[in-house]
């Protein structure tokens, strides 16, 4: 009985499949419990509108966690980039103001990420501390330069930038959903098919191995945090331009949701392996829960508990598949059901494993 051939492990090797399964189950449950809401396309359109900003953050965070690091500063970048865009849009005259705002916002994100990267890679500050400090610092700076006030940028709705980033394609599909999906595809290829992604995985797996195999660990980490900064700024832009207003504490509350989406998706907290597909659907799971649970008619106080259950369930499934324990488990179940047979000696790998 070759475990690699068992149905479960073949399914387990399709990236993100368990997460897609959970998402479909969730929608099935909501369709049963709240048919009026969940048989109407409007609710799905609303998810495509609200989930992308922090789905984008989750995609970036997936790379960071795969490298064995963490970034807690991205909510602050969401605020900072939103402010920079709103400020430039309001105060710079001319039709190209939104574009300038976008470029400066992304540049600011890159700068924050780059500083994080320097602290982590060059100075050697553990990333959890460096980015925690960065989170406070950049929120503080944002509130300071914004004077603690929100900025109304309703006029942005008439610009081409708004159309491009958060317009409605064919009048229905929110453009940000397409941007998020596109970014997911791009980052999937970067992580799984690019030398940068391979370096990220080996660094997360074992930085010493990466180093002795000639990978520039420090440079890769700096690049990674810079990329995360840019992605976080992009998430901030999607949020600010969609809701037409900057408010100083925007992004707060994204941190835990984003991390939940990443871990539901099967990315290992220990680093070395990450799933972009998993994060993508994980974000939609998290994003659908609130509306879904409320629509079923129970009090919204249930939302958090349900979220906890789903996170644990998804992570347990991922741990079992990741360890290859589902294969042996399914074999054991088969053993209980089927009559006993003589043990197979064909598996030459077995005695090697014993010898170790």
């Amino acid at each position: 009985m070759n475990p690699r051939r068992s149905l479960f492990s073949i399914l387990g090797r399709i990236e993100g499949l368990p997460v897609v399964g959970v998402l479909l189950l969730l929608y099935a449950a909501f369709i049963v419990t709240a048919p009026t809401v969940f048989t109407h396309p409007l609710i799905y359109m609303s998810f495509l509108q609200t989930v992308p900003p922090w789905l984008v953050l989750g995609l970036g965070l997936t790379l960071v966690i795969t490298a064995g690091e963490i970034d807690l500063s991205f909510p602050a970048i969401v605020a900072l980039s939103g402010f920079i865009f709103a400020y430039v849009f309001k105060h710079v005259p001319g039709p190209w103001a939104p574009w300038l705002g976008i470029i400066l916002a992304l540049a600011a994100g890159a700068l924050v990420g780059w500083v994080n990267g320097l602290l982590v890679a060059k100075v050697g500050v553990p990333s959890i501390m460096a980015t925690l400090a960065a989170q406070f610092f950049w929120y503080g700076i944002t509130i300071l330069i914004a004077n603690g006030l929100q900025l109304d940028i309703a006029a942005v709705e008439k610009t081409a930038a708004h159309q491009l980033l958060t317009g409605r394609i064919f009048g229905v599909i929110p453009a940000q959903a397409v941007w998020a999906a596109g970014l997911a595809v791009l980052l999937w290829f970067i992580l799984n098919r690019h030398t940068f992604g391979e370096a990220i995985m080996f660094i997360g797996d074992n930085a010493n191995v990466a180093r002795v195999m000639g990978i520039d660990v420090e440079a890769t980490k700096i690049r990674l945090f810079t990329l995360m900064g840019i992605i976080a700024a992009f998430g901030g832009l999607l949020l600010t331009i969609e809701i037409n207003v900057f408010f100083p504490n925007q992004g707060q509350g994204f941190l835990l949701w984003t991390m939940a989406a990443v871990f539901i998706g099967g990315t290992l907290i220990s680093g070395g392996r990450g799933s972009i597909v998993g994060t993508f659907f994980g974000a939609y799971i998290i994003g659908s829960l609130q509306a879904g649970v409320v629509a079923t008619g129970v009090t919204s106080y249930w939302v958090q508990s349900v979220m906890g259950v789903i996170i644990i369930a998804a992570v347990v499934i991922n741990v079992l598949i990741g360890d290859g324990r589902i294969g042996p488990a399914s074999a054991r179940i088969r053993k209980w059901i089927l009559p006993a047979r003589t043990p197979s000696v064909a598996d030459g790998k077995m005695d090697d494993a014993e010898g170790n």
Partner: protein, 284 residues
């Protein structure tokens, strides 16, 4: 199973290697490695003192020494992790520019290192481990996965001799036994045409059976005409595969003997006496 299949090529190739040496006649091939007056200080602490070491082409040198003898420092200098304080390094007859020396440069010069535990990324599939740092790429740095898997498979079957053991290029390293892991690392080094392979304590924490596998891989290095520095605590292992023994103590080379001049027993006694600090009374 692996071992039996790999034996015949060993026997075929050994005389071939001998013949090629004879054919070259008077012009001797460059040594795989020359370390000349190499010293390394960490601040005021002297880690390596006046190291002169030569490894001939197709020579297996057993490097022996207790903890703190300076073996790891030497490996780090050779692999380009840090430069020596002074001295000269020649690899395959080429003088190494120590200022610009690093892991990639060492790889390019044909020097590969297999470590006790940091040669492979454990959560990664084998094909990635074969090509990490030296990926086969399309333009823009995207990896040609098909080609890498193809070559990885070839290395596994031809160089390492993994057949019918349920391991494929897609297997994760966690599925491999300790000996197989070292086999992968050695096979990788041979694929990239390393002229000198440094094995840094490759058999620590392995069972006897797994140690045997690793030693068989080392025999393959020899029969392929390459050179090797084998670092180990286990004298029996070192003795079996080495052509020459270099013994280090407290940053210095204290003995350098070809195999024919010393028995395993004498080597063992020497090391024991040395460990007890009675150097004056013993000699080789």
């Amino acid at each position: 199973m692996t071992k039996k299949r790999s034996d015949p090529p060993n026997k075929v190739r050994v005389p071939e290697a001998g013949r090629s040496e004879a054919r070259r006649g008077t012009v001797s091939p460059p040594n795989a490695l020359e370390m000349i007056h190499v010293e390394k200080y960490f601040g005021l602490v002297c880690a390596l003192k006046d190291i002169n070491l030569t490894v001939g082409k197709n020579e297996i040198v057993g490097l022996i020494g207790d903890n703190g003898a300076g073996k790891s420092t030497m490996v780090k200098i050779l692999t380009g992790v840090f430069p020596p304080t002074s001295g000269e390094l020649n690899i395959a007859g080429q003088k190494v520019n120590l200022g610009a020396y690093n892991v990639k440069r060492a790889h390019a010069l044909g020097l590969e290192t297999v470590y006790q535990d940091k040669s492979l990324g454990e959560k990664q599939p084998l094909w990635r481990n074969f090509f990490i740092g030296r990926e086969i790429c399309y333009p823009l740095g995207f990896i040609n996965v098909r080609k890498e898997k193809e070559i990885a498979n070839e290395i596994m079957v031809k160089t390492i001799g993994f057949r019918g053991v349920g391991i494929t290029v897609d297997s994760n390293v966690t599925k491999l036994s300790g000996g197989e892991r070292q086999g992968v690392a050695i096979g990788r080094a041979m694929h990239f045409e390393a002229e000198l392979i440094i094995l840094d304590e490759p058999t620590v924490a392995l069972s006897l059976k797994e140690v045997r596998k690793v030693l068989n891989f080392v025999h393959k290095i020899k029969s392929a005409g390459k050179a090797c520095i084998y670092i180990s605590h286990n004298l029996a292992d070192v003795y079996e595969i080495s052509d020459r023994f270099v013994i280090m103590d407290r940053g210095k080379i204290v003995a350098d003997k070809p195999k024919r001049e010393i028995s395993l027993k004498a080597l063992d006694d020497f090391m024991l006496e040395y460990a007890h600090g009675r150097m004056d009374e013993v000699s080789l």
